[in-house]
């Protein structure tokens, strides 16, 4: 078995175990599995980091003098996205962990790892740009930005579930492990803010890279335009929440809707099959 395959199974196993523990924690009255569940996500994240290194260096070794970054196929990009999600959850939002959140996040991590088991066609255009620092920064910040938006989406879904439970007066025990509405709202807009910063950084670094590579600040491609639209939409949301004090379910619903733009930017634009971003998920 190859090292990368072994690591892939390990990472998936660890995230899956974390998911099982989060489920046990959610149904139990005491907080006895939460710590261990988070540990499994943490160890899974470390193994995942090793996997990314292994993927990077295994290709770089087979084709000397090339640097490979594991985002050239759908499988790699999907796995890298899962890693970014875990990174944002564990590092940037470390103080805001909760059992309900882990319960939703852990299976998402597992799901995003599944495509990594299948072979996909790589985009040959990308390989030659991996030596460009701006290009790498662009990719990294874009992935982290998308991960932040994905986390805000999960929190929004939890918010709406809890809101519905409170409105319908369902038994308290079915949602007693949920964070409060206010806590979830804080989480949603904190992750959106991070997402805005990171996606903004991705747009700027992308512009600098295209300037150096193609002598233009913007590629007229669906992905570039969609990214700007996404960034603008989230900026409007943040403006209304932070400066106009818009609170509650409606603004959360809007943020949930904005995630459709993220999905379109991340996955949908690749379907147009034009430009450099083809296959760059």
């Amino acid at each position: 078995m190859e090292l990368t395959t072994f690591l892939l199974f390990t990472v998936m196993g660890l995230y899956f175990l974390a998911f099982v523990l989060f489920v046990m924690e959610f149904v139990s009255t005491e907080r006895k599995h939460f710590r261990w569940a988070n540990r499994f996500v943490e160890v899974g994240f470390l193994a995942h980091t090793l996997l990314i290194f292994a993927q990077t260096f295994s290709v770089s070794r087979t084709v000397p003098s090339t640097f490979h970054f594991p985002v050239t196929t759908l499988g790699e990009a999907s796995g890298f996205f899962a890693w970014s999600l875990a990174f944002v959850y564990l590092i940037l939002l470390r103080r805001r962990k909760s059992e309900t959140f882990g319960l939703v996040l852990a299976p998402v991590l597992v799901l995003f790892l599944i495509p990594a088991f299948f072979p996909y066609r790589a985009n040959p255009n990308l390989q030659k740009h991996f030596h460009d620092g701006y290009f790498l920064l662009h990719i990294l910040s874009a992935f982290f930005g998308y991960a932040s938006f994905a986390l805000s989406f999960i929190a929004s879904a939890l918010y709406l579930t809890l809101d519905r439970a409170l409105k319908r007066k369902v038994p308290f025990t079915s949602y007693h492990k949920f964070p409060s509405l206010e806590g979830l709202e804080r989480f949603i807009f904190r992750t959106i803010l991070w997402g805005l910063l990171l996606l903004g950084f991705a747009i700027v670094s992308g512009a600098l890279w295209t300037k150096s590579a193609f002598n233009t600040f913007i590629l007229r491609e669906p992905k570039s335009i969609a990214s700007l639209l996404t960034w603008g939409a989230y900026l409007v949301i943040i403006y209304f929440h932070e400066l106009r004090q818009a609170k509650g379910k409606r603004i959360v619903l809007v943020s949930l809707g904005a995630f459709v733009l993220v999905l379109f930017t991340f996955l949908g634009t690749s379907m147009f099959q034009t430009g450099l971003h083809v296959g760059a998920w």
């Binding site: 009255t29 809890l162 809101d163 409170l166 409105k167 007066k169 038994p171 308290f172 025990t173 949602y175 007693h176 949920f178 964070p179 409060s180 509405l181 206010e182 806590g183 106009r244 004090q245 818009a246 609170k247 509650g248 379910k249 409606r250 603004i251």
Partner: protein, 442 residues
């Protein structure tokens, strides 16, 4: 066991009788002091809450009557029909009852936590006044342990059951840990006052009280450091409030859908939590349909309470298993008490032999008396270790009597050591009957 308990509780005794028999905090110390004067009563403990009054003690058969008389004399209950409500427990029943009480299994609201604190306070007081010695001390301590285990190992205390604590729980689900949320009180009913107190204790901030009678709003505000307003000002106060507790006696709803809808736009949909405990309801039910408004009326709160109570009741069998286990441990401890005098006599038996032999050999060990003494004590401890462990084991299986008889006849223990009675022994050794042995050998 010579344990005894008499008392009455919410289960069969009406509150009119309970309030006559209850001991106020200041009277409790006095009662304990007087109780100790009862002839034949060794150790005493009083548990007095709004739902039960119980006197615990140790004494021979018939002491129950003295306790009943004490109760009547202390409260001057001549002519009061309290006797028919009294229950009595003796021996192991007392332990079982107290363990169940401490676990909240006998409470009006099953699994409530207050009783645990009440027993602990009563225990501390009785101990400070010297009313407790070996058996009752152990009994209460173990009852508290059972209560603690029941609450930490089962879900018996989970989910709020009182209207006010449910309100706090729900408020925390909406606003998170309460940190200065503004509360508006409409009407000055007892229930809204209680709910407000709970919210403030949980961390709610500024309180505004609106009442049709301004004097009542003022009175309640002065009591709780709130801000009184006239009733016509409640709608503008609503704009800045997060939690509204409503309990007016208005015959129709006063909080209208249109008003709140408009208000929510002005509030930019900042969540608003209504607790409507008035009958008839103060808040139009449609108000609950507005986004970010959470409306709970008295029936909703009662439903939550019933659901939680139902869940608690499902835990009772688990709690009873814990109580039974703790009772078994108490039984074992109690059984082992019987071994106390025998162990003391056995130690005395060995001491006699050692003393005789030491006197004979003093000249041979001149200058090394201390080393010799240490050596002898070590040998003695080694010899007694296994018999004592065996006695402890036999206490668990209930076969200790047979062992004690054997020891008596093997070593003719009647001829050795002090001839304390079992009861005297019990009062002198609080925790462990082998303590005297351990002390002698430490």
């Amino acid at each position: 066991m010579d344990l005894v308990c008499i008392g009455l509780s919410h289960k069969n005794c009406p509150v009119e009788i309970r309030e006559k028999i209850a001991f106020s905090e200041s009277a409790l110390s006095q009662a304990l002091v007087k109780m100790r004067e009862i002839d034949g009563l060794r150790e005493c403990f009083v548990l007095s809450t709004c739902n039960r009054v119980e006197l615990y003690g140790r004494g021979f058969l018939g002491i129950e009557e003295s306790l009943v008389r004490f109760l009547a004399d202390f409260h001057e209950l001549e002519g009061c029909a309290y006797r028919s409500y009294l229950y009595q427990y003796r021996g192991r029943e007392v332990a079982e009852h107290l363990f169940r009480v401490a676990s909240g299994l006998e409470s009006l609201v099953v699994g409530e936590n207050e009783i645990y604190g009440q027993i602990r306070r009563a225990f501390r007081l009785a101990n400070e006044l010297g009313s407790l010695d070996s058996i009752l001390y152990q009994l209460i301590e173990r009852a508290l342990r059972a209560g603690k285990r029941v609450r930490s190992e089962t879900k018996i205390s989970e989910g709020a059951v009182s209207v006010s604590s449910i309100a706090v729980e729900l408020a925390e689900k909406i606003f998170g840990k309460l940190t200065g949320e503004r509360v508006l009180i409409l009407g000055t009913g007892k229930m809204s006052e209680l709910t407000m107190k709970h919210l403030v204790k949980a961390g709610a901030g500024e309180i505004t009280v609106a009442s049709r009678t301004y004097e009542r709003a003022l009175e309640l505000s002065q009591k709780h450091g709130a801000k009184p307003i006239g009733f016509d000002g409640w709608l503008s106060a609503l704009r800045t409030s997060d939690i509204v507790i409503s309990s007016t006696s208005a015959p129709h709803s006063i909080v209208k859908f249109e008003d709140v809808k408009a208000m929510m736009i002005a509030r930019r949909h900042k969540p608003l939590f209504f607790i409507d405990i008035a009958v008839p309801r103060d808040v139009e039910p449609r108000v609950g349909e507005i986004d970010d408004v959470y409306l709970y009326d008295i029936d909703d709160l009662k439903t939550v309470s019933e659901e939680n109570l139902h869940l608690r009741k499902k835990e009772i069998s688990k709690c009873e298993a814990i109580v039974e286990h703790e009772l078994e441990l108490f039984d074992q401890w109690y059984e082992f008490l019987e071994a106390g005098p025998v162990i003391q006599k056995l130690t005395a038996y060995f001491d006699d032999i050692v003393k005789t032999e030491m006197t004979k050999a003093t000249s041979k060990f001149k200058g090394k008396e201390r080393e010799l003494e240490t050596l002898i004590q070590k040998i003695k401890a080694g010899l007694l270790h296994i018999p004592i462990e065996e006695l402890k084991e036999s206490a668990k299986t209930g076969s200790i009597e047979r062992y004690l008889e054997t020891l008596h006849s093997l070593f003719r223990l009647e001829e050795h050591g002090p001839t304390e009675t079992k009861n005297e022994k019990k009062t002198s050794e609080r925790d462990d009957p082998s303590a005297s042995f351990t002390k002698a050998h430490s």
